[in-house]
């Protein structure tokens, strides 16, 4: 740039004075620190090179040089302007962008990068973000979630009052307290025992147990009756406590939110058709996330069961009984499903979960 005598550069193009729309053929001569513009009609103007503004390059479009007062010089001589830019050290960043834009190699690289990024974000970024957000969510929000969900479930008649005897209920509450004391962390736990199939329920919950983000755990009478002993139910309750401590429920909400924002951003102006088409992969992805959450909670349950009873068999048996809806079934009655079937299920295939629990037990014994 400090070259004592840079060669004189002459560009030819068209000149506008910025006051009228009149175009004049013109030449611009750059020598040293001075610019001399000679335009059609005998016009000659001089500027200092520091007064010159050079618009960043756009592929295929003629270059624009701007002078004070709105005057401008436009030229097709891209090489000449690029040389001038290099000499003055202008538009370095966007000049590099232009070089990226003019090659097919970098364009294909950008396509690959986008695909990789989209995959990486959906597979790792979004769950990580959701987990972080879920961990950072204050407990008061969790309590609100629980309160409103309980109101909804009871108000809409999804669940009814439990038909279990008071003694049985008290016994189960004791089991729950022991479980949460061991693996529950610092949450205000409460166990709600409810009838999962009251009359006129809009949707039958049946034999089921689930945790709300703030530590409220629902367990239905149907599940209690399906179990052969309380060790099995303790396994289920430990699994639910795992959902609470890992904040799976909230992370799921955040993930759903992130996915729908992403869907809108990607499909953009593809009217509303896009939202419908995008709903299917979004649902598949969401089920993928909750499969990971189930596995994580199974590990919490396994830790509890191994410490208390030295085996994960109670939970394995109950899972098998849930799958077959047969009171006499045990873990050997569940066959592995096909891979496609696994993908479509919200929970990991029962066979897969049983296998995983068995592996955890073997690993604990080998230690």
């Amino acid at each position: 740039m400090t070259d004592p005598a840079p060669p004189t550069l002459t560009l030819s193009g068209v000149y506008f004075d910025g006051r009228t729309s009149r175009d004049r053929a013109a030449t611009l001569e750059v020598s040293g620190g001075t610019l001399v513009l000679r335009a059609e009609g005998g016009l000659e103007t001089r500027w200092e090179i520091t007064q010159l503004g050079i618009d960043p390059p756009i592929p295929g479009i003629r270059r624009v040089l701007k002078f004070p007062g709105g005057a401008r010089f436009e030229t097709a001589d891209d090489a000449g302007v690029s040389a001038l830019e290099a000499r003055l050290g202008r538009n370095r960043g966007l000049g590099r962008v232009r070089r990226l834009e003019s090659r097919w190699g970098t364009a294909l690289g950008a396509v690959a990068l986008m695909v990789l990024f989209a995959w990486g974000f959906v597979a790792f970024g979004l769950p990580a973000l959701a987990r972080t957000a879920a961990t950072a969510t204050p407990d008061t929000v969790l309590a609100t979630f629980d309160r409103e969900t309980v109101e909804l479930l009871e108000g809409q008649g999804y669940v009814g009052p439990s038909r279990l005897s008071a003694a049985r209920q008290a016994q189960l509450q004791r089991v729950f307290r022991r479980v949460t004391a061991r693996v529950g962390g610092d949450y205000p736990y409460r166990l709600l025992l409810r009838d999962g199939a009251p009359q006129d329920a809009p949707f039958e919950l049946g034999a089921n147990a689930f945790a709300l983000p703030g530590g409220t755990v629902f367990m239905t009478d149907q599940l209690v009756r399906l179990a052969r002993d309380d060790r099995e139910l303790a396994g289920v309750l430990a699994h639910e406590a795992g959902h609470v401590t890992h904040r799976h429920g909230l992370a799921g909400v955040y993930q759903g939110l992130g996915l729908s924002l992403l869907t809108v951003a990607v499909t953009g102006d593809l009217i509303s058709a896009g939202t419908f088409a995008a709903a299917v992969p979004a649902a598949l992805l969401r089920s993928g996330y909750s499969r990971a959450a189930e596995t994580e909670s199974d590990e919490v349950a396994a830790r509890f069961l191994l410490r208390e009873y030295g085996t994960t068999k109670p939970l394995r048996d109950l899972l098998a009984r849930l799958e077959t809806q047969d009171r006499n079934a045990d873990e050997t009655d569940v066959e592995a499903g096909s891979r496609v079937e696994d993908l479509l299920q919200t929970h990991p295939g029962t066979a897969q979960r049983i296998r995983h629990l068995r592996e955890l037990e073997e690993r604990a014994k080998a230690r």
Partner: protein, 390 residues
């Protein structure tokens, strides 16, 4: 990408291409006392899908890598490509917005949008107040944002070294975009074409090139014709679509698949509902695209600038609807990779059907004092997808 327009490698036209010589001569003749002769200058678009694809994808990748901070630069470059490849009378247009000004606007609007989304989705304590305040603020400011956006867009557009301008004021914006929209809703859509008329009139009547003001010679009745045609398309298409689907459903019902009571509906029913839903969405898209295309054509045929220039549109709205529909299909099938191709295809067709008729040479316009405009409104229209009509 196999088609190559006559301007090979789209090298810019040197000053004084043959098309420009014609009006020169006409202009010489024009100051004779006889009736002025009009010269027609066609608009042309020289952008190419392959070239634009590279710009688009590279800028998209840079936006992603910079976590969105590059977005204003990407937007400006993409717009500069389209403006720069649009030629009128031997000179191209230029988009001159500053990415830094846009970035500030994006950050402000983005922060509000994010807060609103989080509030409505998470429902933390006091979310109703936060969401309510932002919602009311948006509704109250909407016409003002549109005005800011129009003004910013106009001063950011240059042709032949002169800037465009928009002289719109808040009062007019609140009538055209506030009152008119409220009336359209309250009247159950009856006043909607009137609202379109008010909005286009506001856009055009306040526009200026240099010191030459534009006038709009449109009539509200014609907007009703466009609106009714769109409605007819939607209703007619809906009937054509509904008859076979209902027949199919009834047929399946007879076959005993109609198992809604006590269980989930059968796969036939679900398929029928999906087809009906997708069909209705497509119809809505077609009707809306027709209204947009017909309005664009109508407005362009009713604009006059400085009393000496008229714009004229000869493209077919139906062809534009077809381009819109097939573009959407191509974009969906390629997961968005066909977006640059679709944009170039649409712009090329529209521009090839737009002419400027002038009774004075286009190089005889004068500048006007142009104040700088801030980019907040522009950012809002970009990020919140406010439709300005074209």
């Amino acid at each position: 990408m196999t088609e190559r327009p006559d301007l090979t490698s789209s090298s810019p036209v040197p000053p004084g291409p043959p098309t420009r010589e014609v009006p020169r001569v006409v202009a010489e003749v024009a100051h004779l006392p006889t009736a002025p002769t009009a010269a027609t200058h066609p608009l042309s678009f020289t952008g190419q899908s392959g070239e634009y694809f590279r710009i688009w994808i590279v800028n998209l990748a840079l936006t992603v890598v910079t976590l969105g901070l590059y977005l204003p630069w990407a937007r400006v470059r993409q717009r500069q490509y389209f403006y720069g490849h649009t030629w009128l009378d031997g000179q191209n247009f230029e988009y001159t917005a500053s990415p830094l000004a846009l970035l500030r606007g994006y950050l402000i609007v983005g922060a509000f949008f994010l807060t609103y989304t989080l509030a409505t989705n998470l429902q933390f304590q006091g979310w109703e107040i936060v969401a309510g305040v932002i919602g009311v603020l948006f509704v109250a400011l909407y016409p003002w944002l549109v005005m800011k956006s129009l003004r910013f867009l106009a001063v950011s557009t240059t042709h032949r070294g002169l800037r465009f301008r928009h002289h719109g004021r808040a009062g007019g914006a609140y009538t055209a975009y506030g009152l008119a929209n409220v009336a359209a809703v309250l009247s159950g859509g009856l006043a909607l074409p009137w609202a379109w008329f008010m909005q286009r009139r506001y856009q055009v009547e306040n526009a200026a090139y240099g010191s030459a003001r534009a006038t709009f010679r449109g009539d509200v009745g014609d907007f009703y014709v466009i609106g009714l045609t769109g409605l007819a398309v939607a209703i007619g298409g809906g009937l054509l679509l509904a008859v076979p689907v209902i027949a199919l459903l009834v047929g399946l019902g007879i076959l005993g698949d109609f198992d809604v009571v006590g269980g989930l509906p059968g796969p036939g029913i679900i398929a029928g509902i999906v087809i009906l839903y997708a069909g209705l969405l497509a119809l809505y898209g077609v009707a809306w695209q027709y209204v947009r295309a017909a309005t664009l054509r109508y407005v362009l045929n009713r604009v006059e600038v400085g009393g000496v220039v008229r714009t004229q549109a000869t493209f077919s709205p139906w062809r534009l609807v077809w381009i819109g529909v097939s573009n959407t299909v191509a974009q969906v099938l390629t997961l968005g990779l066909a977006t640059p191709w679709a944009a170039v295809r649409r712009t090329r067709y529209v521009m090839s059907g737009v002419q400027v008729r002038a009774i004075q040479s286009l190089d005889a316009f004068c500048a006007d004092f142009t104040p700088e405009e801030n980019a907040l409104g522009e950012a809002a229209t970009e990020l919140l997808d406010i439709n300005l009509g074209f």
